[in-house]
Symmetry: C2
Subunit: 991 residues, 2 copies
C-alpha cells in the first residue's frame, strides 16, 4: 500500500499542517545524558538517541515527510557519533527541508528565570553550530513548553536573532479563553517599547494549551490512541472513524483560528523514539483524509505555516508586554518556580558572570587549542538555561547533575582565568598568546574562592604572621573604572593592605561570628568532602580601584601593629527599652532603627534629600497541601495557604559593627533567618545579606519565605519588574492588560519573575530592589515590595516532576534543609533618578570583581605588571553601555557584543545614543574588519534585515516612525553607536 | 564507533550464544490483530508490526546480527503488506541465516489443552507457507512459553516434523532445581514408548525458568536495564561494570550447563518493537566482552547452538514421559488452565472435527478458487491453539475474538459443506468439481445447527403437520461404517422417519423439558441476537447407518398416527423410600440406581460379564483467594481451598425416560447442575450429559466443579491420561519419575491434562472416561477418576492476565454466569479390553456425524444420490487407522494423513501393523503419484530422515533394536503400512 502524502497545500480548503516534532527536555526527570542514551528508564521511558536514529530512515522513506528538531544539546551529542555517510545523508535532509532545525539554541530556555545574556549565549552556541556545520539559520522561535513568555524572548531572542515567527503552548487559561473567543491566539507581538516596531514578531499560541496533537492522534509506540487500521483483512478496520474524528478536530480548531490554515503539533515529550510509528499513521491520515476531501492534511513545518500565514497579506492584532504570570487553571499559578531552588539559581547567575570574565581573559591571553578553555562552562551554562533547569522544576538528582556540570565548567574556566592572570602579570598580553600553557600555569595565582560567600577560602586563610604575604589580584570585567569594597576572610588580626605602589590603604576588619563558622564547615564538607583546618577570624575589607577590563593588585601582610581598623561592636538587646534610635551609615546614607525594638524605621539620604520611613521584615507562606482541589504548592506552582510574619512583633537584638568603610547590623531574626544590613560609606544603597534555612517543616507545613520592604510610597497598585534582566514592564496588581482578570489567587496571581530588580514609585520617590539571582516578587500592598527568597515544600504539585521541592544538604546520613545565603539591595531615589543606579549597579551585581590570590614569600609582588587594562588608559566605556560578550572564537576572530543599558525615556542623561570607540577599546590591537551580525551571530545583520518578514499590524499604518538605531560602523572610524536598549553584535577580525 | 561482532565461536572459552528473539503471543491481553497493529496499547504496549518493521534495517546494518522469529500468524500478516523489494530483502536475510524461522507454526501452540490433530494442522499451515515462500524448513522447536510440555510435542511436533532440537522455559520448579544440580536441563527426550528411539529429540530447558536475558541485560526501548554507556564524553560511562556483570551471569549459568556453550535468550514478550535498541546494546556487549576476553560472546541462533552441542559428540541423559504438571513455585500448580473456559475449549474441539469434515467435502466437490473455502477456519483454528487461547488464559475480550474468528471460519466452511453436499446429492462428485458454486449453492441444503446442543435448530423446527417433510443428510467423516443414534429437536408429535429407500425406521421421541427451553432461548438470544418463535417439543432420535467417508439420507414426515415411539416417563422422588433399585438400559449394559436415594450404584454388562459397583457425583473446590501467599486460584493456577460435595448426601429425584433406542435418567442435582445419564441399547458405555452453571458466587467464593466416578478398582495410585489425545501416559499420585516430589498441593499437584480420556485399572477391570473437550483430571483416591468441568473464580492468579476467570453471558444488562453443557463417557471393561473402545469411540467423539437439513414439499427426497461413500463400496479402513487429514491443496494435490490409533501392546488385536489400500480409499480417482512427507508436509520424508541429527544417549548403545515402521509405499500397489502409533503424511497427485 502506497500512501499519497504529496498533496501539499490546497487553496480554498481548510489546511491542517501536521508538524511532526519531539519535545526533548534537556534534563527534567532524568539528566540530559540519561535522556540521550535512554538510561534510567524506570523514571521515564525516554531516549533521544532513538529519536534521531529512527528519524533518519523514516524521513528517507518518503520525501514528503518532515520533522523539526529543536534542542541542539541533544542534536550535538548525536551528531558527534555519526559516520561521515550519515552526516551526508542528514545534510541532504536538512537541505531538502525535510529536517528543519527550529529554535536552534542548545536548549529551549526558560523565559522567567533566565538572564538575557545567558539566553543570548545559549542561543548563539546552538546557532553558530548550525551555521558552521549546516549553513543553516533557524527561522522560527519554538518555545512550546516554557511556563509563560517574556518580552525579551519576543524581541531579543525572536526578532533580533532573525526569527520570522514564534510559537508556544502555555498562556494563562483566562487569556486563552479570551483569545479563543476573539481569534487572537495569533498576534504580532511587540516585545519592547524602546525598540518599537523593529521588535515585532508574529506569534502563535497553540489552540489547546499544549504542544500535543488533538486527542486520539498520538502515535508514539506506547500511545493508546487508536492507530489507523486500514487493513481490511484484519479486525477493527477504522478508517472512516479516524477520518471523521480528524475532520471534527480540525473544524473545532479552525473555529478559533484566522484563515483556513491550522497547525497540529504532532508529538509531545520524547516522542518519535521509534519515528516510524508516527509517520506510518500520519501517512495514512493524510491519505485517507484527503481522499475524504472535507479538509486537506499535509506534512508541514512552522516555517511553512509561517510563510503561508504571511502570504495571506492580512493584518494581525498587536500584543505588547508579556505572557506572565501563567496559570493553567484556577488556583494554579506557575509563579513558584520563579524562586524554586534559589541555590541553583544563584549558582547559575554567578557562573554567568564568571563565564563573561573567563572569556575576556581567554581572549586577552589567547585561546589555547589544547589547553583548558571556557567551552565546558559555555556548554553547562547553556544547558542549565533549560526550562526545567534554572527554573528549579527538575528532580533533585537532575539538579545535582546541572550543578556538577557547572562545577566542571567552572573548574576548567578557573584554570583559564588563573593561567591568563598569571601570565598577564609576568608578560604582556600579546606575549601571553604565544607562551605555552605550561609556563602560564606555573605562574598562575592560587585559584579564586567560589565558596567565599560562606567565608571558605583556604587561599586567603594563610598565616601571615610568619612573614608570608598574600597578593590579591582584583579583576574588573566592566568597561568602566570601578571603586568597590573587597572582602576576604583572614586568620590574622594585625594586617596591612598595600596597593600596587606599596602604599598602605585603608582597611577594615569585622569579626566572623562562631555560628557562621559552623555553617561554613558544614557546607564546605558537604560540597567539597573536606573542610579547612583553620578558621578565619575576620573579614578584611578594603577599597579596590580597578581600571576598565583590567586588574589591580594588592598585597596583604601582617605586622604587630597592623593598620587595619577593627570595627566597633555594639549589642542592643532591647531588654530595657532605650528611647534613642540607632543610626548607622557614615556617608550620605543613614538607616535608622527603632531604639525600642530594633526594627528598621527610616531611610535618609542627605545628598539626595530623601528622607522616608522604611520597614523591612520576613514572612512566610505555608504551602497548600492537596486536600481541597489537589493543587499543592510545589516546584512550579505557588499556592499559598496563609501568610505568617516571622517574629515581626518581637524584639530582635541587634549587633552593630561600625568602621571607616561601612557599618553592619547583624540580626538573628529567628533560629533560621540571619540578616546583615550593610551601609557603605561611599554608596547610597542598603545591602541586605541573608541566610535563610534550614526552613523548619516539623510542623508538617511547607514554607515559602519572603522579605518585605515597606514604605509609604503611594504606588497605586502599580509596580515594575524586569524582563530577563533587561526591559522593565509595568505590572498592575489584580489586573491584566489583555483581559478582564478573574482574581482567584490574590498573592500568587500577582507574582512576577525578577532577574534584575523591581521598583515602585509615586510622585516623589521611587523604591528599588535589586537581586543577585532570579526570584519571584510582587507588590501585594501599596508601598510594599516583596521578594521570595526560599521555598521548602512537602507535596508535589502534580505537574510531572513527581517530587516535593524539599532541598536538603547531607553529610553522610545527616541531612539538613538547605540554607540559602544571598543578597538584595535597596535604594530610594527621588522620582526619575532610580534607573541610573538600577542599571549601572545592576550591571555590577551581574559582573562583580573577580579575585585571585597568591601566597608569596616576597617575590610575587615583584611581578612586572601590577595593573592592567585592555582599553586605552584614557578611555572608558560610556556609563550606559556594557560589553556583554568578548569572546575569541575558534578561528581567532572575536565575537563582541555591546548593550545599551537604558530604555527610552528611562533616564534624562543616559537614555540617549551612546558611542563606543572600538579602536580605544582594543587599545593594543589592530582591527582589520568588523562585521555586524544578527544577535546570535549566525548571519550578517544586513542579510537578516533583508530576509525578515514584515508583518502587518491591525490598525497601524506601515509608514510609522522608524525606531532609533545606531548607524553603520565606519570601517575607518570604528565607532559603534547604540540607541536605547539596542544590542549590537559584531565579529571582529584583528590583524 | 564500529563494534566488532564478527568473532563467532571461540573454542576453549565459555561461549555465550546471544539469541535475539521476541515472544509474540498470538493473543493474550490483546487480540492478535491488536497486537499486530499495536492498538489497544492502554492494555499492553505491544505492536508486532513494529517488531518486523524495525528488525529488517537492524539486521541489514550488521551482517553478524541474527534474529529468530516464531509465530507465523504474525509473520504472514506482515508479509502480505510488504513490497516486492522488501520481500527480496527479507528472503536474502533468511537465506544468509540472519533471520531464522523457528518453530514455524502459526502460533506457539499450547501443549496441554490441544489435540494432536490441531497441533499438526496449525504447524503444517505455518510450515507449508515457509516452504512455499522461502523454501525453508524450520529446524528447531521453540516452545518457550507453554506451561508444561507434552510427550506429543516432543515426538510428533518435534521429531516427526524433522526438528533437531526443542527448547523451552517452563518446567516444574522442583524439577528445575534437580536438573540444575545434576546438569540435566539439557536431555534427549523420548516422547513415545511406541515410537521408541525414533521419537527422540535433543531438548533444552532454559536456565532461569524464563525466556528472558539475565537480569540487567534487557534492552527493549522501555527497559530499565542499564544501557551500555560507552561514550566517554557523557556522564555515567559504565563499560567495565556491564562487562563484569555479563561475565558473572555467564559463569553462573555455565555452572549448571554441560559443555562451554550457553544460550542467552535476548528478548521477551513483544520485544524488539524498536529492534535497534537491542542490537545497539548487544553490539557493544559483544565488542567489550570479547575485548575483556574472560568469556566469548556472539550472535547466535538455537540452530547454531544445537549444531555446536551436537558437534561435541557427547552423550546426553535420557528423559521419557512429559513435563506435566507445571508449578512455578510452591502451591502454584498451573493445572487450572486444563479446564479454564470450557465453552471455548468445547468450541475449539467441535470446530476441529468440523474442519476435518469440511476439508473432506471440499476435496470431494473440488476446491473453489473464488468460492468459499475452509481457509478461514484453518486460520482461526490455528490461532486458537496458541498457549493463551484454547488454554483459557486470555482476557475475556480476547476469548471473544477467538470465538468470533472460529465462528467466521465456521460460517464459511459451512457454506463449503452445504454446497458440497447439495451438489453431491444432485450430481456425481466429479461433476461437482466442474459445476459452478452458484449452481451448487442453489441446491444446498439448509445449514447445519451449531447450537443443536441446546436444542436450538430452526432448520428442524418446521411444522411438518402441514405436509412438509424434512430431509436429513448424515455425513460420516471416518473411514469405517458407523451405526449411531441421531437426535434432532422437532415441534411435532406424530412423526415418522424413513431411510433413503423409503422404509420406515425405528425412532424415539423424548419430551424437551421447559427449563431447558428457557435456557435455549436465553443462549440463542445471547449468541445470535435472536431466538426462535417456536419451541421444539421433542428430541427425535433414530439410528443412522452411514458408509465410510460418506453420507446417508433420511426423511422425516408427520401423519396423524406417527411411527415414532414416545419414551415412557417415570418420576422417582424418594419421598417415601422404595426398596427396589431402579435399573436402566435395555441392551447388554444396565445401570442400577439406588431405590432409596437414586444414586448410581452398579454397572452391569451382561456381555462382557462386568458387574461392578460404581458411583458418580459432583463436588466443587472453593478457589483460594489471595489472603495467605498471594496465590489465588485463577485462569492458570488451580489452588483449591477445600472440597465440597454437591448434594451428595441428599436424595435427588430421578426422571427416567425409557424407549426402544436408549434410556435416559434426568437429575436436577442442584439448582445449577442438571444431568442426563444415557444408556443406548446397542452400546456399552454410559453417556453423561451435564449442564453446569451459572455457578453461584454470591457467597464470595469462586468454585471449580468436578465430577467424580468412584469404583472399587484397586489402582494403587496409578492412573493414565492421554498426551494431546494420543499416547496414554502413566501417572502416579504424589510421585514424579524424575525427582523426589515434595508434595505441597495434594490435589492440584496431581492434576493432568486430558484431551481424549483417562483410565484406571487393577487385575480385573479397567474404568475409562472419555471427554468431549480438553479438561483437567486426576485420580485423587484409589478407585476414583475425577474430571474438572467448569471454573468460576473471583481473583486473578497473578500470572499477567489481570482478570479473574469469571465468565458471564449477557443480554443487554442482564448477565449470568456462563453455563457449560457437555458430555463425558464412562465404560468399564475387563482388563486389557478397554483400549478398543477408548481408541475407536474416542475417534468417533472427535468426528461426530455431521447433519444437514432440507425442508421439502416433496421433491428433495427425489434427489439422485441418496447415499454416498468416497471409498470403494466393499472397502473400509481398518479399525486401528484414522484419516486425520484429507485436504485439497491450492495446487490441486491432496494432503493425506493416516494415523494408527493404537500404541504398542495396547490391544492384542489392534496394536499391529495395519495396511491402507489407497486405491480403494480413492475409489473414483486415479492416483498419479504419492510422496511421503514429514509430518508438517514441508519436506520429503527421506530427505528429513537423512538430515536429522542423531543424538547419543547416555548409557545406551547405538545399535539398539529398530523401531517398527511401515515400509515404503510401492507406487503400483499403493498400500500404506502403519505400525502402532505411526502417522504417515502424503502428498497425493491425482490424474
Amino acid at each position: 500500500m502506497v500512501y499519497n502524502t504529496s498533496g501539499g497545500i490546497v487553496p480554498g480548503k481548510l489546511n491542517v499542517h501536521l508538524v511532526p516534532h519531539s519535545h526533548d527536555d534537556v534534563g527534567w526527570l532524568k539528566t540530559i545524558d540519561q535522556y540521550y542514551v535512554g538510561s534510567n528508564n524506570s523514571i521515564q521511558v525516554a531516549c533521544v538517541q532513538n529519536v534521531l536514529d529512527s528519524l533518519i530512515p523514516a524521513l528517507l522513506a518518503d520525501k514528503n515527510r518532515k520533522f523539526i528538531f529543536a534542542e541542539q544539546a541533544f542534536f550535538q551529542r548525536w551528531w558527534r557519533d555519526q559516520s561521515e555517510g550519515m552526516k551526508i545523508t542528514v545534510k541532504m535532509l536538512v537541505n531538502s527541508g525535510q529536517l528543519e532545525f527550529i529554535n536552534g539554541g542548545m536548549c529551549m530556555h526558560d523565559e522567567a528565570t533566565t538572564h538575557y545574556i545567558d539566553m543570548i549565549d545559549q542561543t548563539t552556541l546552538g546557532h553558530r553550530f548550525l551555521k558552521e556545520d549546516f549553513n543553516v539559520t533557524p527561522r522560527v522561535g519554538w518555545q512550546i513548553d516554557p511556563f509563560g513568555h517574556s518580552a525579551v524572548q519576543a524581541y531579543l531572542l525572536g526578532a533580533e536573532v532573525g526569527f520570522d515567527s514564534l510559537f508556544f503552548a502555555r498562556i494563562d487559561y483566562q487569556d486563552r479563553a479570551k483569545r479563543s473567543s476573539d481569534k487572537t491566539l495569533e498576534v504580532i507581538w511587540q516585545g519592547s517599547k524602546s525598540r518599537g516596531s523593529s521588535s515585532q514578531i508574529f506569534t502563535g499560541a497553540f489552540y489547546a494549551g499544549n504542544y500535543e496533537p488533538p486527542t486520539g492522534f498520538y502515535y508514539e509506540f506506547d500511545s493508546d490512541s487508536p492507530v489507523v487500521q486500514d487493513d481490511m483483512d484484519l479486525f477493527d478496520y477504522n478508517v472512516q472513524e479516524r477520518v471523521s474524528d480528524f475532520v471534527a478536530a480540525a473544524i473545532s480548531q479552525a473555529n478559533v483560528t484566522r484563515s483556513n490554515h491550522i497547525m497540529w503539533t504532532m508529538g509531545t515529550d520524547f516522542n518519535y523514539q521509534y519515528a516510524h510509528t508516527w509517520f506510518r499513521n500520519m501517512d495514512k491520515l493524510i491519505h485517507y483524509v484527503n481522499q475524504d476531501g472535507r479538509v486537506n492534511a499535509l506534512y508541514s513545518t512552522p516555517s511553512i505555516y509561517t510563510d503561508t500565514k504571511y502570504d495571506l497579506y492580512e493584518s494581525w492584532p498587536l500584543k505588547t508586554e508579556d505572557y506572565f504570570p501563567y496559570a493553567d487553571r484556577e488556583n494554579s499559578y506557575w509563579t513558584g518556580y520563579f524562586t524554586s531552588r534559589p541555590a541553583l539559581k544563584g549558582y547559575v547567575r554567578t557562573m554567568s558572570g564568571y563565564y563573561l570574565v573567563a572569556r575576556q581573559l581567554e581572549f586577552f591571553s589567547g585561546r589555547k587549542e589544547l589547553g583548558p578553555t571556557t567551552d565546558s562552562l559555555a556548554d553547562a551554562l547553556a544547558i542549565v538555561q533549560h526550562h526545567d533547569a534554572v527554573t528549579g522544576t527538575e528532580q533533585q538528582h537532575v539538579a545535582n547533575d546541572y550543578a556538577k556540570r557547572l562545577s566542571i565548567g567552572y573548574k576548567e574556566s578557573e584554570e583559564v582565568v588563573a593561567t591568563a592572570l598569571g601570565c598577564m602579570t609576568q608578560a604582556s598580553t600579546s606575549e601571553c598568546k604565544s607562551l605555552a600553557t605550561k609556563f602560564m600555569q606555573a605562574n598562575a595565582p592560587e585559584l579564586s574562592c567560589p565558596l567565599m560567600n560562606i567565608s571558605y577560602c583556604p587561599a586567603t586563610e594563610v598565616d601571615l604572621s610568619r612573614g608570608k604575604k598574600l597578593a590579591v589580584l582584583v579583576y574588573n570585567p566592566l568597561g568602566w573604572k570601578r571603586t568597590e569594597i573587597v572582602r576576604i576572610p583572614v586568620v590574622n588580626e594585625n594586617v596591612n593592605v598595600r596597593d600596587a605602589a606599596g602604599q598602605l590603604i585603608l582597611s577594615q576588619l569585622i569579626p566572623i561570628v562562631n555560628a557562621s563558622i559552623a555553617n561554613t564547615k558544614f557546607y564546605a564538607s558537604a560540597y567539597l568532602g573536606k573542610s579547612s583546618n583553620v578558621s578565619p577570624k575576620y573579614w578584611l575589607a578594603f577599597t579596590a580601584v580597578v581600571p576598565p577590563l583590567g586588574f589591580s593588585s594588592y598585597v596583604i601582610s601582617s605586622d604587630k601593629l597592623g593598620a587595619s581598623v577593627l570595627s566597633k561592636q555594639l549589642l542592643y538587646t532591647f531588654e530595657w527599652s532605650q528611647s534613642s534610635p540607632i543610626e548607622i551609615g557614615s556617608g550620605s546614607l543613614k538607616l535608622v532603627h527603632s531604639g525600642i525594638n530594633g526594627k528598621l524605621m527610616h531611610y535618609i539620604n542627605s545628598r539626595s534629600m530623601v528622607n522616608i520611613s522604611l520597614e523591612q521584615s520576613y514572612s512566610y507562606f505555608t504551602g497548600y497541601d492537596r486536600s481541597a482541589d489537589y493543587q499543592a504548592s510545589g516546584a512550579y506552582v505557588f499556592r499559598p495557604n496563609g501568610s505568617f510574619p516571622v517574629l515581626s512583633e518581637e524584639k530582635v537584638p541587634l549587633t552593630v559593627f561600625r568602621g571607616p568603610l561601612f557599618d553592619e547590623v547583624h540580626q538573628m531574626i529567628n533560629s533560621w533567618i540571619y540578616q546583615i544590613t550593610r551601609v557603605y560609606k561611599e554608596m547610597e544603597h542598603v545591602e541586605f545579606e541573608f541566610e535563610v534555612g534550614p526552613i523548619p517543616i516539623d510542623d508538617g507545613f511547607g514554607k515559602e519565605i519572603v522579605t518585605r520592604i515597606k514604605s509609604k510610597i503611594g504606588n497605586n497598585k502599580i509596580f515594575y519588574t524586569d524582563s530577563n534582566g533587561r526591559d522593565f514592564l509595568e505590572r498592575i496588581r489584580d489586573h491584566r492588560t489583555d483581559w478582564d482578570l478573574q482574581v482567584n489567587q490574590p498573592i500568587a496571581g500577582n507574582y512576577y519573575p525578577i532577574n534584575l530588580g523591581a521598583y515602585i514609585k509615586d510622585e516623589n520617590s521611587e523604591l528599588s530592589v535589586l537581586v543577585d539571582r532570579s526570584v519571584g516578587g510582587s507588590s501585594i500592598d501599596d508601598g510594599e515590595l516583596e521578594i521570595m527568597l526560599h521555598r521548602r515544600l512537602l507535596y508535589d504539585d502534580s505537574r510531572g516532576v513527581a517530587e516535593a521541592l524539599n532541598e536538603t544538604v547531607c553529610i553522610e546520613k545527616k541531612c539538613l534543609g538547605l540554607t540559602i545565603q544571598g543578597k538584595y539591595y535597596v535604594r530610594i531615589d527621588p522620582l526619575g533618578e532610580g534607573s541610573k543606579w538600577r542599571r549601572s549597579f545592576g550591571q555590577e551585581i551581574y559582573s562583580p570583581f573577580i579575585l585571585a590570590f597568591s601566597e608569596q614569600d616576597d617575590e610575587w609582588t615583584n611581578f612586572p605588571t601590577h595593573t592592567f587594562s585592555a582599553v586605552d588608559p584614557s578611555y572608558s566605556l560610556p556609563n550606559n553601555v556594557a560589553i556583554i560578550t568578548l569572546q575569541e572564537l575558534e578561528n581567532g576572530n572575536v565575537l563582541f557584543r555591546l548593550a545599551h543599558l537604558f530604555e527610552v525615556g528611562e533616564d534624562k542623561d543616559l537614555s540617549v545614543m551612546a558611542t563606543v570607540d572600538l579602536k580605544r577599546v582594543f587599545a593594543n590591537k589592530k582591527i582589520n574588519k568588523v562585521k555586524e551580525m544578527s544577535l546570535s551571530a549566525n548571519q550578517e545583520r544586513d542579510e537578516m534585515e533583508k530576509k525578515r518578514l514584515s508583518w502587518k499590524v491591525e490598525g497601524s499604518n506601515t509608514n510609522e516612525r522608524k525606531v532609533l538605531r545606531g548607524g553603520p560602523v565606519d570601517p575607518v572610524k570604528l565607532a559603534v553607536e547604540l540607541s536605547p536598549m539596542e544590542i549590537r553584535t559584531f565579529i571582529i577580525e584583528f590583524n
